[in-house]
Symmetry: C2
Subunit: 209 residues, 2 copies
Amino acid sequence: MKAFKIPEATIIRLSVYSRYLEQAEKRGIVTISSGEIAEGVGVSSAQVRKDLAYFGEFGTRGVGYNVKDLLYHTLKILGLNDEWNIILVGAGNLGSALLSYRGFRERGFNVLGIFDNDLTKIGRSLVNLKIQPPEEIAQFVKENNVKMAILAVPVSVAQEMAELLIKSGINAILNFAPKVLNVPREVEVRNIDLSVNLEILTFHLGMKK
Amino acid sequence: MKAFKIPEATIIRLSVYSRYLEQAEKRGIVTISSGEIAEGVGVSSAQVRKDLAYFGEFGTRGVGYNVKDLLYHTLKILGLNDEWNIILVGAGNLGSALLSYRGFRERGFNVLGIFDNDLTKIGRSLVNLKIQPPEEIAQFVKENNVKMAILAVPVSVAQEMAELLIKSGINAILNFAPKVLNVPREVEVRNIDLSVNLEILTFHLGMKK
DNA sequence: GACTGTGAAGCCATTCACAGCT
DNA sequence: AGCTGTGAATGGCTTCACAGTC
């Protein structure tokens, strides 16, 4: 169970399997094969089995996997059996949208606080939450057991805000600023770079001519 | 169509190098080494050289790369020497935010049209653009030379909208719906799955205990 | 001396193929 | 007979190390 090095790609797929299993459970499916999961999420069945094998033996040979059971295990592996309190830093367009993104709520992520250093925004409310100044982050994080933050600020202040977050006790950041954040090794960072994703598409379009 | 098989990871990094070079050029830097680029974007210098080598020889041994020249080449490789007209499908929270995201504009992407199938939204304006019904997509795409679309709709209509886009002549889609889209092989799709990214973080946080 | 470009080596992830269960 | 779990083979990306150039 405590496997050593697990490919990042495996974790990504595990998250996708997990959501697929949720749907399958809702549709009342009791047993599912690696082939059916594979079909549903667009990978090979060997890939599904290999990915799951990093964490244990969840299936029955000749039969398949019990949907409910496998869903439970994938959620547990991903750390989703409990809910997560998160904060949002940056109340601009992107931040506001993320706040009302239903997908987070559905997977157990609660945005409890919003922070922005724009004085004109502080005190205003966004979806029932008052925008607070960055100085409040440290206390808020302690009081509300927050481990993760979504960073949706301009590049110019991204590094500075990341450092403030880390000093405040945050140890995982989902960063939307198109900039490589410099953080201590023990802090987890995932970057979502919107332009890069469009540029990969233009690259491929260019190749086709 | 020249290069053989170029790793997706190389394209992603190329996009990052490109933006880094833009900054370097703005700061007036004329020559730059693979080591400096590497340092700036958080990869190894060998990686930088290898990535660039897929596309040609852009540097001078013993000297480094000319910033302006290399920037030009990276933009060209990515297909960014021209601007791109794109459309947005889905005028919900996420769609609205993406519309006002400055990063797209800065890299030459113009959102020219917004479409949504919510009748209460149609006709309303978002950042100077009138929201149009999906039936208009086909004509709009033809008239405005649109090749790419951003898809920010609920999972329930994502596949259907993707098919409409493809029928309308779109051949690259940036998909935000957490669902695997079924599309013909010649259509390029990139998925940005916000929840998956948070879940990778929770996985890693779980591992640390 | 400094830095690029690149074959070779090393490493990691995916696919194959089949033994092992039910 | 059907499907999982997994060692072995394959394929692909990254790192190494150095020859080549300025």
